[in-house]
């Protein structure tokens, strides 16, 4: 048996939390290691899902339609996070289609690391590439990193966002060649400008056709000698030119530079799942586990993280600030919303509201991504303002149905009502501290003032959603 608080910790970090019944089910695993295996090896983690949100008819402005498309895609993605379950119930067919939390969370990780953004596409065809990239990340989210990075190097959204589609042997563009080293694989300090130029020249020819689909154009590929990490040769990016004699940048990074790549990614992955200040020893442990098979299998990294003592340390358990998608998913899940709010005329929505929270899906402000800053934007005043708006909408949607469980709260004693809502948000009342105390005081006051069921419920949901007990765990 695994202790329920351990199951809850793992479910919060490997996914978006779990219900009491899920935790009971998962705690039946004999050991944490067995539970980790079950979560990482869940067959639902292999996704062939292909979302195809479309822009509305009527407005022909391509910029507007492109924006609407990514907002709709973002809401669809947030709804999957909210609906994800570690231990779904139902028929095998029903279970198969319940989103797997770790897949959703790892897809988000790659989206926040291997950045492409809606800020770059110039037309609807280019904008559409962001959906294909999302599918790419879903497909390889828990797979092999070399395959993921190779496919990303040929991914149209990436070829557009980091300009490699425009790079030619005569006029080399260094954007992708730099970031594939600095941000996607090695990190600052592990390469030189000579390597940036070598990688950039190797990547010439990886471009797009007129329909924004990937193609390799040998005519613009630099088929001459380049220098990359001290080796002179006819370097290629992933081997498309078939003239490199095995000198291909991405495979080279993932084999010859495997220690550096695994170390770089180990730190980011650990920070994403556990806490922001891992020791060098922890990072080394995770990196060693990541490359244990001789390849960079992402599942190996995840299992090493979830079994590592530092993942279970007091520092990790002390709480991690929910990212905006995690917070929205927690709210949607707590309120049992099958769909998340659409604002205005239906073209905007909850994903647009996450802009001021600091994490607007598919619309990153820069290639830096979301996971590196110890001070992410989702801590602070602007994020609070955006969260007030968002929880107003979500709670309003829940309260609009007279059959919603929220309407059972009125018959409960104050403390029971508060504990019930904390439970919806997957917060143990015993650890809720000041949040619980103040929530009880607030509900008592409102009942004395006689503000009515609607305001009692709305305020209780908003208070708990905005509290540290929910935002940090």
């Amino acid at each position: 048996m695994v202790a329920t608080q351990d199951v809850a910790h793992l479910c919060r970090r490997a996914g978006f939390g779990a219900s009491a019944s899920e935790i009971t089910t998962l705690s039946a695993h004999p050991t944490i290691s067995a539970l980790v295996d079950a979560i990482v090896d869940d067959p639902r983690n292999i996704s062939t899902l292909k979302p195809r949100p479309v822009a509305p008819r009527g407005n022909r402005d391509e910029g507007y339609r492109g924006y609407v498309r990514i907002v709709k895609l973002g809401r669809w993605y947030l709804e999957r996070m909210s609906a994800s379950r570690f231990a779904p119930t139902g028929t095998p067919t029903q279970v198969k289609y319940v989103p797997a939390p770790l897949l959703e969370k790892m897809t988000l990780f790659w989206h926040g690391l291997l950045v492409s953004s809606a800020q770059k596409p110039q037309n609807l065809s280019e904008n559409f590439t962001l959906l294909d990239q999302h599918n790419l990340f879903r497909t390889h989210a828990l797979g092999n990193f070399q395959t993921l990075l190779s496919d990303t190097s040929k991914d149209p959204a990436m070829l557009i966002y980091l300009d490699n589609a425009l790079s030619t042997k005569d006029l080399v563009n260094e954007n992708y060649g730099r970031e594939v080293l600095e941000l996607f694989s090695l990190g600052v300090g592990n390469y030189t400008q000579t390597d940036v130029i070598g990688a950039s020249r190797a990547g010439t020819g990886y471009t797009l056709d007129s329909r924004a689909k990937y193609k390799f154009d040998a005519a613009i590929h630099d088929n001459t000698t380049k220098t990359f990490f001290g080796v002179d040769g006819n370097w290629d990016l992933t081997g498309a030119a078939a003239t490199s004699g095995g000198l291909d940048v991405v495979p080279h990074l993932c084999t010859t530079k495997q220690v550096e790549v695994s170390t770089y990614l180990a730190k980011l992955l650990f920070q994403y799942f556990a806490h922001f200040t891992p020791s060098p020893a922890t990072i080394s442990d995770i990196a060693t586990g990541f490359r244990q098979s001789g390849q960079l299998n992402i599942k190996d990294a995840l299992k090493t993280i979830f079994n590592h003592p530092d993942f279970w340390s007091a520092t990790a358990r002390a709480g991690k600030m929910k990212t905006p998608p995690e917070w929205v998913a927690a709210c949607g899940r707590a309120l049992a919303l099958k769909t998340l709010p659409r604002y205005g005329n239906g073209d905007d929505g909850i994903s647009g509201a996450t802009d001021q929270m600091g994490l607007f899906l598919f619309n990153q402000p820069s290639v830096f991504g979301w996971w590196r800053r110890p001070e992410p934007r989702w801590i602070g005043y602007p994020a609070f303002v955006a969260k007030v708006d968002a929880i107003n909408s979500m709670a309003g949607q829940a309260l609009s149905k007279g059959t919603h469980p929220v309407y059972t709260l009125g018959a409960m004693p104050t403390a029971t009502a508060v504990d019930t809502v904390l439970g919806w948000f997957l917060v143990d009342p015993a650890t809720a501290g000041a949040t619980r105390t103040r929530a009880i005081e607030m509900l008592d006051r409102q009942r004395t003032e006689g503000v009515g069921d609607y305001w009692e419920h709305l305020n209780l949901i908003r208070f708990i959603a905005l509290s540290p007990a929910v935002q940090v765990n």
């Binding site: 730099r178 007030v388 000041a434 905005l466």
Partner: protein, 417 residues
Amino acid sequence: MDTNDLLASLPDVTRRRFLQVTGGTAGAAVLAQMLPFGQLAAWADPLPPGAPILVSVYLGGGLDGAHMLVPAGPGYGAYDDKRDNIAVPEASLLSLSSTENGLNPLMPKLHARYQAGDVAFARGVDLLNPSGFEPLSHFDKTDYVMLGRTAPPPQRNGVWARWADTQPDNPLLMATVDFGMPVLFTGGAKQQAAALPTYLGDALGANPSPQEQALVDALLALDADYVPADLSLPSRVAHAGGFALRTTSDLASAYPADTDGIDGSMGIIAALINANITGTQVYATVQGGYDTHSNQLNDLGYLFPRLDDAIDEFFAALVDPSNVIVMVWTEFGRTAHSNPNGTDHGKANNVVLAGPRVTAGLYGSQPGFAPNELDANGYLDPTTDFGSVYSELISDFLGGDATAIYGSAHAPLGMLT
């Protein structure tokens, strides 16, 4: 000091907020709620007449400075040779005091302000002799420019955070709009900066209904449950909520309706300066999109007019612009040569200062584009250290010991009156 004494000692704005939040029933327990930072009475003080205000505008991604302040005259030929596919035609340039440069014609309003004597360009600016970091990385370099350091520092405290440490306590002494919390403002000994929203939405503190008052009070009480010194995440989340509720009521009266884009962000800043309720002396915001590896002519063709309009509208909106300076900067320059239709990461750029306190002109030396003028690796050769710009703003504008705050001595360029 009892509550009545404290009330009597507070400035009007503070007293008004105190009574708003407490509902006029001030007591010791409520008083504790009101002072989560222990600095409330200070931060609400209006600035005295003549107090300097700096507005830092970061052009995110690395502006191609030569596309804004274009080499002209004898230097134009080498510039055109290096980038003939994206060069700004010499005949189109707006003339400046020196024939060495002309201004991009997409910025006529900045040009008009230059001619009126209010715009200075520092040329060839960079961190000279950098070591220990990656000078061509957006993120490493941006951090180091904001730190004002040419090598890894003992403490990661931004330039304006160091200046703020020398000033009286005020958690809103520095504020960002649409910029998160950049290194520029962080790492100081005191918490003197806040990120402000680009819109206030339904923020509860702006105008709570009677039915919402219990919620507002509960969130404020939760804020007070965590002591100011507690920097744990739960504490910071609670404080963020309390800060928002306490601040929004005042901001709501000042915020403009349209807050989108760089003009929107600068519009918020102008409105706050006019309202004079926060005591803020350094603002920071950002206009992104300057990483023009591709599509440079189109992208800068879109960005420059918006920046031009934003700066112009900002000054036009100010009731008293006499002691306000806008500083426009970016992390690095770009390659001297162009790629298919853009430029890659490079060195040496311009810093633009605008405002009545500025002495118009071109300062520093324009890096040349001729092969024998580029550095050993073929980049534009920086001529002016960021320290000269920062130090002048500290010593001759915001006030302070520039050498002590910046950490090294730099001769001012003479851009300020």
